[in-house]
Symmetry: none
Subunit: 206 residues, 4 copies
Amino acid sequence: MKQNASKPLLRRRKPTQARAQITVDAMLDAAVKLLKRGGASSITTNRIAATAGVSIGSVYQYFPNKHALFAALHERHIRQVDAILRKRTAECAESSLEELVQAWIEGMAEAHAKDPELAELLQSEVPHRAAGTAEFSIRLHTCFRAALAPHAGSFRRKTDLDTRTFITANMVEALGHALVSRRPRGLSLTRAKAESSKAILAYLAS
Amino acid sequence: MKQNASKPLLRRRKPTQARAQITVDAMLDAAVKLLKRGGASSITTNRIAATAGVSIGSVYQYFPNKHALFAALHERHIRQVDAILRKRTAECAESSLEELVQAWIEGMAEAHAKDPELAELLQSEVPHRAAGTAEFSIRLHTCFRAALAPHAGSFRRKTDLDTRTFITANMVEALGHALVSRRPRGLSLTRAKAESSKAILAYLAS
Amino acid sequence: MKQNASKPLLRRRKPTQARAQITVDAMLDAAVKLLKRGGASSITTNRIAATAGVSIGSVYQYFPNKHALFAALHERHIRQVDAILRKRTAECAESSLEELVQAWIEGMAEAHAKDPELAELLQSEVPHRAAGTAEFSIRLHTCFRAALAPHAGSFRRKTDLDTRTFITANMVEALGHALVSRRPRGLSLTRAKAESSKAILAYLAS
Amino acid sequence: MKQNASKPLLRRRKPTQARAQITVDAMLDAAVKLLKRGGASSITTNRIAATAGVSIGSVYQYFPNKHALFAALHERHIRQVDAILRKRTAECAESSLEELVQAWIEGMAEAHAKDPELAELLQSEVPHRAAGTAEFSIRLHTCFRAALAPHAGSFRRKTDLDTRTFITANMVEALGHALVSRRPRGLSLTRAKAESSKAILAYLAS
DNA sequence: CATGAATGAGTGTTCATTCAT
DNA sequence: AATGAATGAACACTCATTCAT
């Protein structure tokens, strides 16, 4: 369904791999810079080129159109969050449920820590039709589900695992996001993380 | 000679205001229609006018610029959600904590039921700088907090009320949203609502 | 050639004469106000109406279009200058050539004194195609010529009177204008007037 | 990668600048054409582009906005007049006062000869806020003053040189302008020039 | 007569995209 | 490959003008 479902498409920039990736990253970074400066409406292809120190022609060498650039922007961010969460999950293969949930919350916090406003801006300003969001959701759901499975015995109610995962994943995402960027003053990051973990654990234990 | 020198003008204002509201609503509805059809980028002032069946000049009689129109779009939606949630909350003044939480989830479901994709699109595509979002958040937090206060005695841990409210409000919003628009097939709306309520109650009881 | 060459047209606003003239003046004054504030481009019919405290409909009761309003603006100003110059000239029927020329320069200074920038702005910003400018020029030329005629004997060279008048009128206008609005600091108005008169007299004596 | 890192780019700039001047001139010429056809109000950026045979985008590559284009229009004209007058003045460094004054009048006539209505239209229709008009006036005043200085001994009255220059410059401009575009039929250009020169000389001799 | 909401052609300007070099 | 001048469709917005009340 997506445009990278098959190998041929991946070849698009194979040859000059390294240089290409640097250029692409420069352009995406430029887009982020512009996004932060003036919102989504100030991201124009010409400005991206200028900010990235590249000609406008080069932008179109790597992206067929502006939309693809936006999609790449989302994808890069999603890939980061995805990587962090999967790594944390993998590290907790043998851990207790409590440690697992804490790792997730910690992972969300880590993912947003280095650039708290980026996620917000990306979410709220940059159109993400057809970015890999859906695909990412499914992958993460699968990952979460697998991590939760070994602990299913400790859940009091006999809810099916998909439902548990659905609720849990949404809580992780929502609380992970909120505690970084909407946390009221007076509530420390540490306490917010602890409280979020407790909320999720309380649900899972129920 | 001045435009407010005589009564007739004031009397004429009333019907005008009613008509004005109809016109304004027609324009906002047109914007929503366009938003659903082709995303935020397909909302243009001229298209709004055409779709709403008014002249472009009339759009600018009611909104100083496109931004103000976007803000009004958000505001109208926010006001609806706000009204529903406050009403539900008010109705549960004497109820149990369980009924209160269920009412909130029910309210979120109701708010999104008639137009599930609108909230999503509004959130993710329409820039909402300086819309009354922040103000709304505070009002809702206050409302939630007041509703939670009478039940504070039943919470096992002695977490402060603002933290409780913060976590709870985010759960209500996230789960309320998710259960309407991201719920996996295989999970009925009824069960999703029940599960969401249980999650929140588990947290509050903890 | 002009639209007030015959009597019927003068009837346009006869009945309510007094009130009409007040309204028309209010509108022209509003236009002048706007002109001074923001240049010709800030004169819009709606703004004129608002500034004059009149409805936009009323503006179109008195002027068929914006152009006519501009023409009226020029005409009113021209009429003032014309009146002053004719009066001064008439007063010098028995006077010496020197007194006559001084009266003209004095008249120009007087005409621009109360609103020095208006003439400049009118000239340089407000389009005056088909305003009564040409007609005014002819009338003034005739007036000047008649006033100069009795002194023709004192001119050294035997240049024809029309040429004399042409040069003289242009000098009066140019110097009269320049001494009010472009005079360099260091040159007093009195000396500028004296010097201008001397220049014209030197020419006429030649 | 940056746009000024290598010499080739500088070499390419040269031909570009020549082409650019041609394009700019085409656009200014188009503006003049439109101005003559339908007055200042018929000059629109899109029409300029169409008339000049370039795209509207190109207009904005050379001018940041319409105002800058108007300013350039004035500047080009002013530069022409300035150049002519300075050249004529320079040629008369050793000449008599009479020759100098005749050269000025001749210069004004020359400047307006090839396009008599342009100066008039530029002056009366095209807004010239912040065009280099003032600067030009000063330069010309300085030029005139220097040219007049050697002849100051022949002036009968002991008026200071700045005042002399002020009056003279205004006469040159006004008469030079009038003799080209407002001269009454019956007065030949040759005689108008002669008479204008005599007027200025009579003043200077006085 | 006066009003002012409504109109919509038209304006200045932007910006995604192309393509000759 | 990389460049960036050129393009022109499309945009947000203005304003002279009309006309029902």
